[in-house]
Amino acid sequence: MSLQVSNLVTGYGKDPILHGVSFGLEAGSLLAVLGHNGAGKSSLVRALVGLLPAWKGRIEINGKDVTAGSSSRRVSSGIAVSFQDESVFPTLSVKANLALGGFVRWRDRKLVAERLHQVLELFPRLRERYTQAAYTMSGGERRMLSIGMALMSDPSIIVLDEPSTGLSPGMTEYVFETIATIRTGLNKAVLMVEQNVKQALDHADRVMVLKTGQIVFDGAPQDLASDSTELVMLF
């Protein structure tokens, strides 16, 4: 199991936002996390990457307990994130951005060079814009860059926060095709937070619904769709 979360409790301030979340994620699978605003999706993303310390529970990556420790240790254990907004380093070039994506593996030059080659194959547009500052690129290109950065450190687990939000339909298709390649071709475990129920059900092989900090559904997309309308609409 690439990622195993057990009874995760965490939040900001005094009240917890996540009330004991447990799930596992295997390599080669794509898990979509749904839930409306305030349900805890972005808190989960931050908690997984180490930006939000866990109050209770365990997080294991590839069998290793990584619950304690800083975000740099967490990222080194093999997890990477692509944020929904402010997802790149704006004044730095694509080249510098990608280099920073592989920060935790900087000592292994060969690995980083291989990953860079791979990312540029996956996103040829980035090669065109290689020396441009990130803020000059369009929203879709920045999303590509952000996902590319997440691949640079050769993680086992990739967390994508609303990868298709704010993109045109064509761009959205492209992003999801890429995610499919990452998941099957590169055999990564992908966790994707999605606002768009349609997209999530179409592309994921597993769906999880968060409501006020707890998992209320965890299973196949077909099962969710055919569940009572009430549950489906309560996102």
Partner: protein, 297 residues
């Protein structure tokens, strides 16, 4: 005298002043963009380096060749100690911007006054001889002024190289650009802060030494450079690290052009009026570029 002949001396002086301001502005910008606070406490580092040079040359009788690197090193140490002993505690507890600004000003004023109490507030010089000068562009610039320009350019180039081509330098750029993402790629923000304070301390020292070589050392020498650095940041903007430097050069030129056109006593007022006008009309600065100033609440 032709227009350009009478103008050139002021341009040369303006450039020299502008470059000197740009170092302190860069140091302040480094901390502002990366750590997210407006740190007037850098004035303490300026004073520390100035008095260290004085102490090493006049007090211990060391030559400039040893005194200067010694003083610079001392400046870096002071900067790191201030961060570690004072600011970091406040930052860790999530102190808001206003509190951080007050702490910075208070540290600066405390150190300024302690020096004033310990050492007499009169002016001291660590270079007693008349400095040799050169005719450059129709004006007479002495060695210290030329050194100031040279050192400023070298320091700017050095910081640029450091940030663009070394590991620790790139973490500074990353944290300055997008702190959350920097953490998301595994950068240790605290360590980036340490590097930032170290580099800022070095750069402020590089600005201080040529300045005070010429104008002497007293407890109040740091106020003007700090204010001018803030002014440069306001005028240039803070979207990247080039803007404040350009703002500083522009400010230096404006200062000396004001002298060229107006009686000397109005020079400061006009230049500061320029600052306030920019604040009101275009608060993101002239060379904004990207409007992305990291700040605490």
């Amino acid at each position: 005298m032709t227009l350009s002949q009478s103008l050139l001396p002021f341009l040369a002086n303006g450039l020299s002043l502008g470059l000197s301001i740009s170092l302190v502005a860069l140091a302040m910008a480094l901390i502002w963009r990366t750590v997210g606070i407006i740190d007037f406490g850098l004035g303490s580092v300026y004073l520390a380096v100035a008095y260290a040079t004085l102490g090493l040359t006049k007090g211990l009788g060391l030559g400039l060749g040893i005194a200067i690197p010694g003083a610079l090193l001392f400046g870096v140490a002071v900067s790191l100690v201030l961060y570690g002993a004072v600011y970091r505690g406040f930052l860790r507890r999530g102190a808001p911007l206003f509190v951080m600004v007050l702490v910075g000003i208070s540290v600066f004023m405390a150190i300024q006054n302690l020096i004033g109490a310990a050492v007499s507030p009169q002016k001291f010089y660590f270079i007693d001889t008349i400095l040799p000068g050169f005719e450059v562009a129709g004006t007479r610039l002495n060695v210290a002024q030329l050194a100031r320009m040279g050192v400023s350019l070298a320091a700017l180039a050095g910081v640029a190289f450091f940030c663009l081509h070394t590991g620790p330098g790139r973490t500074i750029l990353a944290v300055a650009d997008n702190k959350r993402l920097a953490q998301g790629v595994g950068i240790s923000v605290d360590r980036a802060y340490l590097w930032t304070y170290g580099v800022a301390g070095l750069v402020v020292g590089a600005a201080a030494i040529p300045d005070v070589a010429e104008s002497g050392v007293d407890p109040y020498v740091a106020i003007n450079p700090v204010f001018l650095a803030l002014a440069a940041i306001i005028i240039g903007g803070l979207g990247n690290f080039r803007s404040p430097v350009l703002g500083a050069v522009l400010l230096g030129l404006a200062f000396h052009l004001a002298v060229w056109m107006l009686p000397a006593s109005w020079q400061e007022v006009i230049a500061y009026g320029f600052v306030v006008a920019i604040l009101v009309v275009r608060p993101q600065g002239l060379f904004g570029g990207m409007n992305l100033v990291r700040e605490r609440a």
